[in-house]
């Protein structure tokens, strides 16, 4: 139990929110947002950028403050002047914008820019308009456009998945005893022949062949686990990476793969555990990585992989403090 508590706190230490548009930034705590004054007086030599940093943790929010107070680009108000600050709705708008950006990135990862270019462009244009609305401090409009972007991006992704050629993916493994396992992850299926007998294996199913025997009957593969940590887009500032997931009924083991790309083609590290968490003492260089998890059933068959989860490793720069855990990804918009 003590170990569990230790690893949980390590997980909390190891993750940080990544805003949708790429910069590493920590959002202000909810309590800080609720205490935001509606107006403030500018003190001597104070800039809007400093105010934006102080209240929103983001100097670029000065653009919005200028828009709210009709101050021209690059100009600073006189000391003693009273200016309006964005209200609590800004935080909700940023969340909507982040979710929309992630949906667009997901659509792109699923080939929408290639296979559903019109739908994808509509979503990308909508996101641009949402960002422009944010810079004008038009929060209601920004939120509406962010929601519209999210819906368009999902539509583009769906259209892309329907149109793009469906790849065949299947796995074959052989152990030291000579037993073969075949699992079909997607596509048209395979025929497995052994001992003058054949079995057809369809998508999402698997067979096992013991050395010198005919193939077993095919049976369904286990689904990948859910409720995954680190969540999508986490920034990890310690070299010890804590992976955690919800157990899957029937799974005897779990396999975690860390790769350098979202398709898992540039595999870097593979780890197996019987538990529903794993503390990986990483020696990986700082950078961007993706991780996947799969279940292993009692027959030793590996199930389908979870969707790719991106994380950014900044172990060399992290000090393990001042870190926030992002909202759990499964709690947000899902398929």
């Amino acid at each position: 139990m003590k170990g569990f508590v230790t690893t949980i706190s390590l997980a909390a230490l190891a993750t940080l929110v990544v805003p949708a548009w790429g910069q590493v930034r920590e959002p202000p705590a909810a309590s800080a947002v609720s205490k935001l004054p509606a107006k403030i007086k500018i003190s001597k030599d104070q800039t809007l950028e400093e105010i934006a940093e102080k209240f929103f943790g983001d100097p670029s929010a000065a653009v919005e403050i200028r828009a709210l107070n009709s101050i021209a680009d690059g100009e600073q108000p006189d000391s003693g002047a009273e200016i309006r600050l964005p209200g609590q709705e800004r935080d909700r708008v940023l969340t909507a914008l982040r979710v929309a950006t992630q949906a667009l990135a997901q659509a792109n990862a699923d080939g929408a820019s290639e296979f559903a270019p019109k739908d994808y462009k509509s979503a990308a244009d909508s996101l641009d308009r949402a960002k422009k609305a944010l810079s004008r401090a038009a929060y209601a409009e920004c939120r509406r456009l962010a929601d519209e972007t999210w819906a368009l991006a999902r539509q583009a992704r769906k259209a892309s998945l329907a149109k793009r050629p469906k790849k065949n993916r299947f796995e074959v493994s052989v152990d030291r005893k000579g037993d073969t396992r075949v699992a079909v992850l997607s596509g048209d299926g395979v025929k497995v022949s052994a001992g003058k007998k054949s079995k057809t294996v369809k998508q999402g199913h698997a067979v096992r062949v013991e050395a010198g025997q005919a193939p077993s009957d095919s049976y369904p593969l286990l689904d990948p686990p859910t409720r995954l940590l680190p969540a999508k887009g986490s920034i990890l500032v310690t070299a010890a990476i804590y992976f955690n997931w919800k157990p899957v009924a029937g799974a005897t083991r779990y396999v975690i793969l860390i790769a350098g790309d979202p398709h898992g083609q540039q595999a870097i590290r593979q780890m197996t555990t019987e538990n529903t968490s794993l503390l990986f003492k990483s020696s990986l260089p700082d950078g961007q990585y993706y991780w996947f998890i799969r279940t292993v059933d009692p027959r030793g068959l590996v199930g389908r992989a979870s969707p790719a989860r991106k994380f950014i490793l900044r172990a060399s720069r992290g000090n393990g403090s001042n870190i926030k855990q992002p909202a759990h990804e499964d709690a947000g918009h899902g398929d």
Binding site: K167, V172, V174
Partner: protein
């Protein structure tokens, strides 16, 4: 006389063996299509390649060409991706040994015949649907042969 009979018998049995070899070769395919190559497009960790006819295990490098009978070995925590024509990919997992068994293109019907033998470990194949009727993609192990099924065409 006895020596002559023995020599005749030996000559006949040699011919038989040669025929048997031909049958095996026909089954395996050489001579029935244009030999193609695959290439290593990614490797991570300790990945070695043994070229056909060589005794040496060379370190794998990007764009290294693979031909029939070449072997690819991955050690612990090591991975390799082998790309073959038509954009197909074979991902080789850690502690695996793969032999390129057949890589051919039929000049007449453009059918592709690819076979890899997995001696140990794990591979994941990712490829488009088999378009030409005679095309085939197989992975062999010591206990089974796995062949990709052709896509069923639905008429509406």
């Amino acid at each position: 006389m006895l020596l002559l009979v023995c020599l005749c018998f030996l000559a006949v049995s040699c011919d038989c063996n040669r025929d048997a070899g031909k049958e095996q070769k026909q089954d395996a395919g050489p001579g029935q299509g244009i030999l193609r190559t695959a290439r290593i497009v990614f490797s991570s960790g300790n990945v070695r390649v043994k070229k056909s006819g060589s005794m040496e295990w060379l370190p794998a490098r990007r764009d290294m060409e693979l031909s029939i009978d070449d072997k690819v070995r991955t050690l612990r925590d090591s991975f390799a991706n082998i790309e073959f024509e038509s954009g197909g990919l074979l991902r080789v997992g850690p502690e695996s040994l793969v032999v390129v068994t057949d890589l051919r293109l039929e000049p007449v019907d453009q059918a592709r015949r690819y076979t890899f033998t997995l001696m140990e470990g794990k591979v994941e194949a990712e490829l488009s649907a088999l378009e030409k009727g005679a095309s085939e993609f197989k992975i062999r192990t010591s206990s089974a042969e796995t062949s990709l099924l052709h896509r069923e065409v639905a008429f509406q």
